[in-house]
């Protein structure tokens, strides 16, 4: 079965020669839709996190705002919007204002490259993986700027921790990405998804994929600053870390991008290792594949992403956090060597064609 991939950018391109105004409207609508999606996803994620955390901990979580607290996130959002916004007197005002925007923009830019279903992807670049890796680096810039411009020692410490941590773990994450890129033979995200129509990379590569997936999950959790790697904002250590001096709207930007980064990570992990929107196919067993195709691809994507998000939340509500030197040791002495070895092994696999359902 072949999938007809059509991105929103392509559709806009199709429209452009005929009616530029319609195309412009289309672009506008897309921007609105992405913003709406981001907002809704963020609110849902925050609510889900609070509810799931509560049930991990033998309690019930938000209950009193709407049925079982479903409107809790909306209340929080409106409150944060209407809250006073403080720029400390000694802060670097411009950078202080810019930082959360940068952090949010980095997340938003990754969002447009995610293939959520064959027809639901804003832009499908031929260097998609590279683009995602590059643009997600903007987030750390926002954090660094925010911590530095606040003129607060705790913020600075948090920002430096975040900077060191994210940049270090990006290496491992990229190495894990490269494994999939090697196997798929393309940097295009939709191409990677389509390369998994005989099976997901997590199991097709005799363990290499699994190892890469594990590394990617660990490195990714570290990149989005979540427990057990939440050193940048570890409450008990650095009060609130890099966003200590942020309030109101700008804090909500950080807050939202933190949760959406989790979505981005889960989406990337499912795209690369779990086939993205590709249903569970095993080789060329048409019967199984046909049954699996009954579910629409968008739903497959949503299910996989949800599962990974749940996994990340599960990590967070179980583990204590690492110390800063242990964090670095884990990256440079454990993950990185394993990642390199894994990359070499998978390169060998690719060259010899030694993996399941090689073409």
């Amino acid at each position: 079965m072949s999938w007809q991939v059509k991105t929103i950018a392509q559709r806009t391109g199709d429209l452009l020669p005929g009616s530029p105004w319609t195309a412009a409207l289309y672009v506008l609508l897309t921007i609105l839709a992405v913003t709406a999606f981001v907002t809704v996803a963020g609110l849902v994620l925050i609510y889900a996190e609070r509810k799931i955390a509560a049930h991990f901990q033998c309690r019930v979580g938000p209950m009193r705002v709407g049925w079982h607290g479903v409107l809790q996130s909306i209340a929080d959002a409106i409150k944060l919007l209407m809250k006073e916004d403080i720029v400390p007197r000694d802060a670097d005002a411009l950078l202080h204002i810019l930082a959360p925007v940068l952090s949010f923009a980095g997340m938003l830019l990754v969002m447009i490259a995610l293939p959520m279903s064959p027809s639901l992807q804003v832009a499908d670049m031929n260097i998609g993986v590279l683009y995602v890796t590059a643009v997600s680096g903007l987030g750390v810039l926002g954090i660094l700027l925010g911590g530095w411009s606040s003129n607060n020692k705790w913020s600075l410490l948090g920002a430096m921790r975040a900077g060191a941590q994210i940049i270090s773990y990006e290496v491992s994450a990229t190495l894990a990405l490269l494994v999939v890129v090697l196997f798929a033979g393309t940097l295009q995200l939709s191409g990677i998804v389509q390369s998994q129509d005989t099976g997901w990379w997590i199991w097709r590569a005799h363990g290499c994929g699994l190892v890469a997936f594990a590394i990617f999950m660990i490195a990714g959790t570290a990149e989005i600053n979540r427990t057990p790697f939440d050193l940048a904002e570890g409450e008990s250590e650095l009060t609130a870390g890099f966003h200590t001096e942020y309030s109101g709207l700008r804090f909500s930007f950080f807050f939202l991008s933190e949760f959406l980064n989790m979505f981005v990570l889960a989406a990337m992990a499912s795209t690369l290792f779990l086939g993205g929107w590709m249903p569970l196919h095993i080789g060329h067993f048409a019967a199984l594949n046909g049954v699996m195709d009954l579910l629409p691809p968008g739903l497959w994507f949503a299910l996989k992403t949800t599962a990974i998000i749940f996994l990340i939340m599960w990590f967070r509500w179980t583990f204590p956090r690492l110390r800063v030197d242990q964090l670095m040791r884990l990256e440079w002495k454990i993950l990185l060597p394993i990642g390199f070895v894994n990359l070499f092994v998978s390169a060998a696999c690719v060259v010899t064609g030694f993996y399941f359902f090689a073409r």
Partner: protein, 386 residues
């Protein structure tokens, strides 16, 4: 004569000794008075070199309320309720400490039942305090879930206390001459139910936190305190025992009914954060043992041998007695001049001395280690400041 009175400003603007070959710049950070991991209003001035702590200067007094001065103006019964607010997690032991010194000085009689009740509720509170500590310890290390599990089980003890004592935290239960109420008819049943509930939970705690590799890695070899240094720094309680000194007043100078029960004093070997953690976890188990031995045979008797009078007269002189709270040795020094209120009353609080160890432990560690150490000595700030 070289008496030189200094100030905090002078203290922290002093020497800067960068020992690293790299030319790094040291800087001061105020941790507290409002900081999530200082458990109240403790201020630590940290001299940092990057993430490394070069020096810790604790600054106290953000909750110094002058309890000792107030004690001089009230009678003994009033002072009992004041010490509730010192180490509020061992309020009963605090009550007992004052009660003990007053009873010893004024030669007040008690009976076995009173002592048994006192021992029981104190041990329950030791468990309660350690459960809270366990939860907060997990939270300080970044894991939130232990906090909820620890406090969930602590609430069960709160329920038992509420039934018998009528308060959840500041009890004012152990009075000179007796205990304020007799135990609730359901006390024995509740305590037994709680113990059988807690035992499997302890196994769960171990699986969740104790055996977790991150905890192991974070606590091993951190904040090491040798036995000799621990004694010299005046540490008591689990902090001292973790360093390998089996100094427990329940064993060495038994009070209450501790002489009649069989229990062990867990001691550590290295005196690091891990040992302190483990000693406390083990103390919960020992407390369970003590309660199990006592709960079935509480002797009969009155809870006040004589009707409690508002005022008690204590013969003139210096009286001192001490006992073991969940955090260490709490001593009450009572100087009386024969009147209804003490001439001078002084509390030797365990946290005061235990905190003093932090300066020695923390030097050279990371900020994250500092938080772990602070949590592992389990301070209650109002107990330090009084």
């Amino acid at each position: 004569m070289s008496v030189h009175v200094s100030t905090l400003q002078a203290r922290i603007s002093g020497e800067s000794t960068a020992s690293s070959p790299l030319s790094t710049e040291e800087y001061f950070v105020n941790m507290g008075p409002q900081h999530p991991s200082t458990h109240g209003v403790l201020r630590l001035v940290l001299r940092l070199d990057g993430e490394t702590v070069r020096e810790v200067v604790p600054v106290l007094g953000y909750i110094h309320r002058g309890i000792e001065k107030m004690g001089e103006h009230g009678n003994y019964r009033q002072f009992v309720h004041l010490v509730d607010r010192m180490d509020y997690l061992s309020a009963l032991a605090n009550n007992w400490a004052v009660t003990m010194v007053v009873e010893k000085a004024a030669k007040m009689e008690t009976n076995e039942r009173i002592e048994a009740i006192r021992t029981l509720v104190c041990e329950l509170q030791r468990i309660q305090s350690h459960l809270l500590w366990w939860g907060v310890f997990g939270m300080d290390l970044g894991g939130f879930t232990p906090f909820f599990y620890g406090l969930r089980d602590r609430e069960q003890i709160c329920d038992i206390f509420e039934k018998t004592i009528g308060a959840r935290l500041t009890m004012n239960y152990i009075q000179p001459g007796g205990v304020m109420f007799d135990i609730h008819p359901e006390f024995v049943k509740d305590v037994k139910a709680f113990l059988s509930y807690l035992k499997p939970k302890l196994v769960e705690y171990d699986a969740l936190l104790t055996e977790n590799v991150i905890i192991q890695e974070r606590l091993r070899g951190i904040g090491r305190l040798s036995a000799a240094r621990a004694i010299a720094l005046g540490a008591t309680g689990p902090v001292l025992r973790a360093s390998g000194v089996a100094h427990d007043l329940r064993k060495s100078e038994p009070y209450g009914l501790y002489a009649q029960v069989d229990f062990d004093v867990p001691v550590g070997t290295d005196g690091d954060c891990w040992d302190r953690y483990w000693v406390r976890m083990e103390e919960i188990r020992q407390s369970i043992r003590i309660i199990e031995q006592l709960i079935d045979n509480i002797p009969e008797g009155k809870t006040f041998l004589v009707k409690p009078a508002a005022k008690i007269k204590v013969p003139a002189g210096i009286h001192y007695s001490h006992l073991e709270t969940a955090r260490g040795v709490l001593g009450v020094l009572l100087v009386s001049n024969g009147k209804e209120s003490p001439y001078r009353i002084h509390c030797r609080t365990p946290n005061f001395n235990n905190l003093w160890c932090i300066g020695e432990m923390a030097t050279g560690g990371r900020i994250g280690d500092l938080v772990a150490m602070l949590s592992s000595i389990d301070i209650v700030v109002p107990d330090i400041d009084r």
